[in-house]
């Protein structure tokens, strides 16, 4: 049985754990404000709030109910648009009405939920964060201008610091209905999700991949739950290494202060990964286990010296992340194992980290190519380089030869042009919906250059890089012609 609080109603249900929460809300509870529009977490028309009780306090965030397995609602407070309604309009609802930011109305409930999640956000509010609250919502009617105005008007009425807008304040000002004040007690009475690992059962983290890919096949399956905060949910800095539990969500990882100190800009890069509601749900474990060749987090951690931590009936195992992927969507994890997390060696002070990603749309899109780099230098020479690239091979790729090649080199147009040519030999992109092979080759070259142009603008120029590349091309062409070898363009 699954127990949670839906708006102001306690729920006890025997419905299957893998049933999308959206279907439960709409078709079993007949709460039709959340819409079934894409069923893959890409449009936000089904957004709901997920409230968790921690240390006696409720914490809320937006989630895509189409990708949330019902089982993950256990012990939580789930709030749909119906649960935000009160007499009159909330300031969020009023803001949308005042700025004519609703046309057909199909996306609107999701937008109200997303903006209410912003009001409940525990981070200081900025304009950028406020706009980012809608990075998981599509609207096909308004063109977003009126929505942006509405967001600004909502923002202008909210204190930036969370301490100044606690839940009682939000209730008092009409952002939340009064029943929110009694929720903590209601939720406290419900048992939390009991994480349990059953070898052979599908392992469920946030559900964002599983429910997007095989909702029907999993409908009657019993999951192994990893959903709750147990031993897989911490970030530990110990000695010379950092361990991250596989149950952490992308949002928790990307905004973690320690990780942001170790990998400057991580939170900013995080904006290029999924969307707010998906980052709130998707876990590190899921991103690793799904084994997509463009998994953003995997590409990031491949640029560090990262080890995968596995556990199973035969005990713990550690594998280097580079090497964990055996082929397209295939990992070295045994069917009876689960991912505990990852561990990486702490980078030295002065370590340079950069992440680049290009997709058709900048936000909430899957990369055509992504790449990360970890660099260490001593008196201008590269002492350590780790470069990863996604979308250019059947697996998330650690560019071993190129990384080796750079070791001991001084940064110059010529060296990088040479490295770039090595990259082209290491990768094997295919043409698909994310772009032609030719494009992906060019794009990775450009993103590789971007890593350096961003961090060493004084030492390099695009023009110089291209010129050196041309010279090398010419040289290779001549060498090949001399050897009578076949010439491969690109």
């Amino acid at each position: 049985m699954i127990e949670f609080v839906l708006n102001n109603q306690p729920i006890q249900t025997e419905s299957p754990a893998f049933l999308p929460l959206l279907d439960f809300i709409r078709y079993e509870q007949r709460l039709t404000g959340a819409k079934a529009a894409c069923r893959e977490g890409d449009c936000g028309a089904c957004l709901a709030l997920e409230g968790r009780l921690e240390n006696g306090q409720m914490h809320y965030q937006s989630i895509a109910s189409c990708l949330m397995p019902l089982g993950n609602a256990q012990g939580k407070h789930i709030v749909t648009i119906e649960g935000l309604n009160r007499k009159g309009l909330s300031p969020v609802q009023q803001g949308i009405v005042d700025h004519s930011a609703t046309q057909c109305g199909f996306c609107t409930p999701g937008i109200i939920v997303a903006l209410t999640a912003l009001c409940l956000s525990e981070e200081p509010l900025t304009e950028q964060r406020a706009m980012a609250a809608l990075d998981g919502n599509l609207c096909r009617c308004t063109g977003y201008q009126s929505l942006k105005q509405a967001v600004l008007s909502v923002l202008s009425k909210l204190p930036a610091e969370q301490a100044a807008r606690p839940i009682p304040w939000l209730i008092d000002k009409g952002y939340l209905p009064v029943y929110f004040s009694g929720i903590t007690e209601q939720v406290a009475q419900i048992p939390r999700c009991a994480p349990a690992f059953h070898p052979g059962r599908p392992i469920l983290g946030g559900g964002t991949d599983l429910l997007a890919q095989q909702p029907d096949q999993l409908r009657t399956a019993e999951p192994s739950l990893l959903c709750e905060r147990w031993e897989l949910s911490g970030i530990y800095l110990e000695g010379n290494s950092c361990t991250i539990g596989s149950g952490l969500t992308m949002a928790e990882i990307l905004r973690n202060p320690d990780l942001n100190r170790l990998l400057p800009g991580l939170e900013e890069y995080g904006r290029l990964i999924a969307s707010t509601p998906i980052r709130n749900m998707g876990t590190l474990g899921g991103n690793l286990a799904n084994a997509s060749p463009i998994a953003d987090l995997v590409i990031i951690f491949l640029a560090l010296d990262t080890t995968v931590l596995l556990n199973g009936p035969h005990g713990r195992r550690e594998l280097p992340l580079d090497g964990f992927y055996l082929g397209y969507k295939k990992t070295d994890m045994r069917p009876d194992e689960y991912l505990e997390g990852i561990r990486f060696e702490l980078p030295s002070p002065g370590h340079i980290f950069n992440f680049e990603k290009v997709s058709k749309r900048a936000r909430l899109d899957i990369a055509s190519v992504n790449t990360a780099i970890g660099l260490e230098l001593k008196s201008g020479a590269i002492t350590l380089a780790r470069i990863s690239a996604g979308g250019v091979s059947p697996v998330p790729l650690f560019l071993r030869r190129t990384s080796e090649f750079l070791k001991g080199k001084l940064i110059s147009d010529k060296v990088l042009a040479g490295a770039s040519q090595l990259i082209q030999e290491e990768i094997s992109p295919i043409s698909d919906i994310r772009g032609s092979a030719e494009y992906k080759r060019l794009l990775l070259r450009q993103l590789f250059y971007a890593h350096f142009l961003k961090h060493f603008p004084e030492q390099l120029s695009l023009k110089g890089l291209l010129n050196e590349g041309r010279k090398l091309d010419e040289k290779h062409r001549l060498e090949r012609t001399r050897k009578g070898a076949i010439h491969f363009p690109g």
Binding site: A34, I81, T108, C141, A212
Partner: protein, 756 residues
């Protein structure tokens, strides 16, 4: 006045098709679509699917009691495939089950046996084989053959625009309930309730009066539910009628994307001739329209392509020919702009090519050729209230385009890795259905005894705010507060024989019909008030809920007036009908006066390209739009902003991709990317031109739905400018959309030519 649905929308209480409370015993239906793009069915294994508990029945074409035909203009599209398969996803069977999940389980177990045939997906290949969906058409003006010799400059080239998925957020659907006497009640997410009614009647072999169609509202339509909502309604109706149980179809997004048509991709060839002073003297263009497997609305869309071949420009010698080609793709269909955007892109490409080769700004050519009062369009109509030049000049002046261009030049000089570009885009769009008989509408207005008013029309509300405008029209006509007026759902039993809500004409046609009904009511009420007050009807006026007599308010307010009218047995209901006057078109001569009026406007769009990564942002869109006397500027501005962003999406990241075998590869929201809040332009500054609208527009407020989409075309040419600032050797190929891939390839085209 705010959109009347706003409060319901923000509370999640507005009811869409899939939100309707279902009747007991409701079943779910799901289509099994063709796994191949071209072939013949040789057999099928349905037993395993039927054996799943909860599967009620599986229907095929043989179960259709009437015509197995849903083709609206040309009868060339079966509801369920009989033997020939023409596109992937073409419905073959209809699975009916207790719930959707069971139906989906069953669908996986159906095994179809077939002989595959070679599919054609390429429009040129179809054209070469003369696979035309209907006869090609040509519009002519002047004498193109002699005009070439007068031109100082001649340019020739190709242009290509891709398809566009509507991505209405509410997927297609229908819900059907059997009624007594052998009839059915249909809820349909359609822009064309009468079309659904007529087609369902034909498929079920029923008279139209046995088919009631009601549309609550749509979660977006954009043309995608004009013709293509019909098949889903027919399928649900077939199941409900056969089983005598309520049946619902609510499409899963992927089914919707795979099984329904999109904006037509076009491939076109142009020749353009200019005088020394940059006057376009001759323009010859051939459009190849990729129609997909059946005609659908393609004949009308092709026609509008020809009507808008010259957009906002006057060209004295024109020859425009269009072919609609049959391919093995889902039948392509209406999409905001209806063939006009495709035509306008080609002309802008021709102008851009001329500008590139002459080394001048495209703006010079554009400006030199804008329409002026009385100019003749290739279809014979003359431009009246032609505001092309006023809009253009107002953009240049209001937004100081010269200064912006200088700023861009300076920026490009200072930045090696980012370049900006700016392009202007004029729009002239004809308002009316080009099929003249469709330009009619009806409305039904009831005044209830308490003074409240119920209003029905043929218009379907899909976010465009038509219901809000109808309330305003009725409130003005009856001099009552808008609060008194409720707009009912669109229902064929209340308003019959409607045209689809399309062609930007919903508010004009239905607004005029509402006005007409209100005029009748007012005439009756005036006569009665005159009797009560013992004056002649001429002395009576209605102002702000009160009867005025000889310029003075009386004690007779609206509620008293209506109570009195009921007692005196005055008819408090009226049906209004409107037919647009003056319009006609002769398809043999390809000449006439097809449009009630034209909407004009101009936009300047600027973009910044990241020349390392090939990514880009649309910075500003500055627009002067010819609203006429806008009835509701909030609603109208919303239409402009939404239209522009949809147009920009079509020109940039929205890429419909089929495999050579005809399989849709961009079949989900993770592979088909519409603009989101960060991809939308940073600023859209749209200002009204401020000139009066024509009398044929409702209260002189011009139609606004489609024209703004075409401002988005400017995004392509702004990107082109930015790319050329980085790579002057770039030779444009005028292939849209300009995805980040195409942009990066363009930035580094001829890289080895050492020009960067």
């Amino acid at each position: 006045m705010k959109n009347i649905d706003s409060n319901g929308h923000v509370k999640g209480r507005s009811t869409f098709l899939d939100d309707l409370p279902v009747h007991e015993g409701t079943l779910c239906a799901l289509a099994f679509g063709s796994p191949i793009a071209h072939g013949r069915i040789t057999g099928a294994e349905l037993e395993a699917a039927r054996a799943i508990p909860g599967v009620v029945d599986i229907f095929s074409y043989a179960d259709i009691p009437g015509d197995n035909q849903v083709g609206g203009i040309i009868p060339d599209e079966p509801l369920l495939a009989e033997q020939d398969l023409h596109y992937q996803g073409q419905p073959i069977f209809l699975i009916v089950a207790e719930d959707n999940w069971t139906a989906r389980q069953a669908r996986r177990l159906i095994q179809l046996r077939y002989t595959p045939l070679l599919p054609i997906t390429d429009v040129e290949e179809a054209w070469g084989r003369e696979e035309w969906l209907f006869r090609p058409r040509t519009f002519r003006l002047g004498d193109i053959d002699t005009a070439w010799s007068q031109c100082t400059y001649l340019f020739e080239g190709d242009a290509e625009t891709g398809g566009q998925e509507h991505l209405y957020l509410e997927p297609q659907g229908a819900y059907v309930i059997p009624r007594e006497h052998g009839g059915i009640k249909l809820y349909s997410a359609t822009q064309g309730p009468t079309l659904v009614q007529r087609t369902v009647a034909r498929v079920l072999s029923l008279p139209m009066h046995q088919v009631e169609v009601e549309v609550p509202r749509l979660g977006g339509g954009f043309g995608g539910k004009e013709d293509q909502a019909t098949a889903w309604a027919c399928l649900a109706a077939l199941a409900a009628w056969r089983l005598q149980r309520p049946v619902k179809i609510a499409l899963h997004r992927q089914d919707d994307m795979r099984m329904t048509g999109k904006r037509h991709p076009y491939r076109s060839h142009f020749r353009i001739g200019l005088s020394k002073s940059m006057k376009i003297l001759a323009y010859e263009v051939t459009y190849l329209q990729n129609g997909g497997a059946a005609a659908d609305l393609s004949p009308a869309i092709l026609e509008r392509t020809l009507f808008h071949a010259t957009n906002s420009y006057f060209i004295p010698n024109v020859k425009a020919t269009a072919y609609s080609c049959r391919t093995n793709l889902p039948p392509n269909t209406a999409f905001r702009g209806f063939g006009a955007p495709q035509a306008m892109f080609v002309l802008e490409a021709a102008i851009a090519q001329a500008a590139c080769e002459l080394g001048i700004s495209a703006r010079r050519i554009q400006e030199a050729n804008l329409l002026k009062e009385g100019d003749e369009f290739p279809y014979g109509q003359r431009a009246r209230q032609a505001h092309a030049r006023q809009c253009w000049a107002a953009v240049e002046a209001t937004f100081d385009i010269r200064k912006k261009e200088q700023a861009i030049k300076a920026y490009n000089h200072q930045h090696s890795y980012q370049k900006k570009g700016l392009a202007m885009m004029p729009v002239c769009f004809g308002i009316s259905f080009t099929k003249t008989p469709m330009n009619q509408a009806s409305a039904l207005v009831h005044i209830y005894q308490d003074g409240s008013i119920g209003l029905s029309s043929g218009a379907v509300e899909m976010g465009q705010g038509v219901n809000t405008k109808l309330v305003q029209v009725a409130a003005m006509a009856l001099a009552v507060h808008p609060r008194r007026i409720k707009v009912e759902t669109t229902d064929t039993t209340r308003v019959a024989n409607t045209s689809p809500t399309a062609a930007s004409s919903g508010a004009d046609l239905n607004g005029k019909a509402v006005q007409q009904a209100c005029v009748q009511l007012r005439r009756r009420l005036t006569a009665m008030a005159a009797l009560i007050l013992h004056v002649s009807p001429a002395a009576i006026q209605f102002r702000a809920e009160k009867v005025w007599c000889k310029g003075q308010p009386t004690a007779l307010d609206w509620e008293k007036l209506i109570a009195e009218a009921f007692l005196r047995r005055v008819n408090l209901s009226a049906q209004g009908h409107y037919a647009t006057p003056m319009i006609y078109f002769d398809k043999d001569k390809e000449k006439g006066h097809p449009f009630a009026y034209h909407v004009f406007g101009a936009a300047a769009i600027s973009a910044t390209v990241d020349c390392i990564r090939g990514t880009y942002e649309i910075d500003e869109v500055d627009i002067i739009h010819d609203f006429g006397n806008s009835l509701n500027i909030d609603v109208d501005q919303g239409q402009v902003e939404g239209g522009v962003v949809q147009g920009i999406g079509w020109m940039t990241a929205e890429e419909v991709v089929y495999s050579p075998e005809g399989r849709l590869l961009s079949d989900s929201l993770s592979t088909y990317k519409v603009p989101d809040i960060t991809a939308a332009p940073k600023v859209i500054d749209c200002r009204p031109l401020g000139l009066d609208g024509p009398g044929l527009a409702i209260l002189r407020s011009k139609a606004v739905g489609e024209p703004p989409l075409m401002y988005g075309i400017g995004a392509y040419f702004a990107l082109l400018q930015a790319i050329r600032a980085f790579n002057p050797a770039y030779v444009p190929d005028f292939k849209a959309p300009f995805t980040p891939e195409r942009v990066l390839m363009a930035l580094y085209q001829n890289e080895n030519a050492e020009v960067l």
